[in-house]
């Protein structure tokens, strides 16, 4: 059945994107947490007066969460929706 193979392709594509973005988020966040846990002095280092490396990286984790969310939305709007519509 042609529809079925397309459905599988849509599923596989969505799973690939979802899994890679989830892994990316986990790497960013747990990388940060591990640095906090294992290298406190490094994160206490000032980057500029008033800003430590830890605060900068922490704010960056929030920015990474935004960017990954934005990547997913633009992928889904551009590709996923079209291929899902193709299944109807």
């Amino acid at each position: 059945m042609p529809t079925h193979s397309t459905l599988e392709a849509v599923s596989a594509a969505r799973w690939r994107i979802a899994a890679s973005l989830t892994v990316a988020m986990m790497v960013a966040y747990f990388g940060f947490v591990l640095l906090v846990a294992f290298n406190k002095p490094l994160l206490g280092t000032p980057v500029v007066p008033g800003l430590s490396l830890g605060m900068l990286l922490g704010a960056l984790v929030i920015v990474v969460a935004w960017v990954l969310t934005w990547i997913y939305i633009s992928w889904a709007n551009a590709h996923y929706d079209a291929s899902v519509d193709g299944l109807r």
């Binding site: 459905l7 988020m25 966040y29 906090v36 406190k40 206490g44 969310t69 997913y72 889904a76």
Partner: protein, 509 residues
């Protein structure tokens, strides 16, 4: 000297305005709440932007506003770890859960599991996880409400708990999801607006430059405030807490339920985008508010009013904006608690009535009228229960209960939910075992942890070293689901996965 703790005219005026407005919304919403579908999902009429705000409203509890600002003001950088941890779950909700959930279910996350697996047994198991999360979350919110309102307005604890219980009951009972959603939206706008204004007033004292503020904190309290300090002592514990915060968000029943209030999966997706933007912005503000309170109010003053630091944000508001602004922030904090408790109660009512009564006890053959009646009875029961729990736990340290709720959500609800969406070989027995073991192991390990043994029971040491069990219980729950499913494969469950694949992407046409 602060006027905190005495009756504050502005606070009372703002609070009465909020109550009148929200009850007005409830009256309006009650006319649109005639069917079970409308009661649970607001007729699926909520837009992406509205749902984004409502999700943010459900998630930004008073614990995160007052608690995190307080933690940053007393511990500096370490408090920020919570700000970040509470945000990173949202992309996970987006990538793994939101759209499939919307397409596969109707009212609760258990619908997704029931669509794929044997409905009755799986709904019972899912209800255990859902009700455990909701109960602990409710206790934390109600005790927080009682303490907070006593500190903010000088009202008696029991009286405050009853006000919250009764007003929230009115929202949910009469206005269902429509009223709950709009109360969340109003509260989210007030909270985001109030926090932004507070941050601007703080930054105005530092030439609108956050770095000047942080540098001042460093000058007053030493280099350590900007770097990791004493809160993070055990790396495993830090990882464990991080895992629970990240994956727990995707297992919170009251958050997941919001995805049914929108028209389709596409709208659900966009709404998570808005929610992530709002919540991230809010947690970035906590950087400024926390350090602002540390510098402008001072740690000594903050901790003299409340040892936990919970009054840092209201105290800061008083210093930078005077008593009226303190009143406004206090009213916003009260509104925040009300809205979160309403959301929790509605999702608990959905579990009791839709999952347990309608689908387990009555085998899904239930008339519309009975569904609504049962949902409302469940709401009253939960409201009464939350008042009783709030009064029972008076004076006890319940700060750990939000963490416990996240740990159960991450260990009991998340693994089964994500596997049922993505793994064809998951069986009913596998999912059941995963949810039950996830709940029981989390409860057992928290009981044996320093949080209960040392902090609550005052024993000298604890049997289990970690304060958060997530790093053990989340993998345990996944492994249980996978092992049980592989050891006793059920072809019917796997076939059903294939049958649902189309619905997962297209929804119900």
């Amino acid at each position: 000297m602060t006027s905190l703790g005495g009756p504050n005219v502005t606070a009372i005026v703002f609070f009465i305005i909020f109550i009148v407005m929200s009850l007005g919304i409830t009256v309006w919403a009650s006319r649109k709440t005639r069917t079970a579908d409308q009661f649970y999902t607001a007729g699926r009429s909520v837009t992406a932007f509205q749902n984004g705000l409502a999700l943010a409203g459900d998630y930004m509890s008073a614990a995160s506003f007052l608690g995190i600002v307080g933690l940053v003001s007393t511990s500096g950088f370490d408090g920020l770890l919570y700000s970040i941890g509470f945000l990173v779950g949202w992309p996970v909700v987006m990538f793994l859960i939101a759209e499939p959930l919307r397409n596969l279910g109707r009212y609760t996350f258990a619908d997704v599991l029931a669509a794929r697996l044997r409905a009755k047994p799986i709904r019972i198991a899912a209800s255990v996880g859902a009700l455990a999360v909701i109960t602990f979350y409710l206790i934390a919110q109600m005790v927080g409400a009682g303490n907070l309102i006593r500190l903010l307005f000088g009202l008696q604890y029991e009286f405050a708990v009853m006000i919250v219980g009764v007003v929230m009951l009115a929202y949910v009972l009469f206005g269902g999801m429509m009223a709950t959603t709009w109360v969340q939206i109003v509260k989210a706008v007030l909270l985001l607006g109030g926090a932004t204004l507070l941050a601007v007033l703080v930054l105005a004292r530092f030439g609108m430059n956050p770095l000047a503020l942080f540098a001042e904190a460093q000058a007053q309290y030493g280099d350590t405030v900007l770097g990791p300090g004493r809160l993070v002592t055990d790396p495993l514990d830090a990882m464990s807490l991080g895992l629970a915060l990240m994956l727990g968000t995707a297992g919170l029943p009251h958050i997941l339920m919001r995805f049914y209030t929108v028209r389709d999966a596409r709208t659900a997706r966009t709404s998570v985008g808005y929610a992530t933007a709002f919540i991230g912005f809010f947690y970035l503000l906590t950087f400024i508010l926390g350090f602002g309170a540390m510098v402008i109010v001072g740690r000594k003053v903050i901790m003299a009013v409340d040892a936990g630091g919970n009054m840092a944000a209201p105290l800061l508001a008083e210093v930078v904006g005077g008593t009226p602004f303190l009143g406004f922030i206090a009213a916003v904090a009260f509104a925040t608690i009300l809205a979160v408790v309403a959301g929790l109660t509605l999702s608990g009512a959905a579990t009791l009535s839709h999952d347990l009564w309608v689908n387990v006890v009555r085998g899904a053959h239930v008339e519309e009228r009975e569904q609504l009646v049962v949902a409302r009875v469940a709401t009253v029961v939960l409201a009464a229960l939350s008042i009783i729990l709030g009064i029972t736990f008076k004076g006890q340290n319940v700060a750990y209960m939000v963490g416990l709720a996240f740990a159960i959500a991450a260990s009991a609800n998340f693994p089964a939910l994500v596997l049922s969406i993505f793994w064809s070989r998951l069986t009913t027995a596998g999912a059941q075992a995963s949810m039950l073991i996830g709940t029981v192991s989390t409860l057992a390990l928290i009981y044996l942890s320093p949080t209960i043994q040392i902090d609550v029971l005052k024993h000298a040491d604890a049997w289990f070293p970690l304060r958060n069990p997530g790093i053990i219980t989340i993998p345990l729950s996944f492994v249980t689901a996978i092992l049980v499913s592989l050891l006793r494969p059920v072809p019917a469950d796997a076939r059903r996965f294939v049958e649902l694949e189309r619905q997962l992407h297209l929804g119900v046409d």
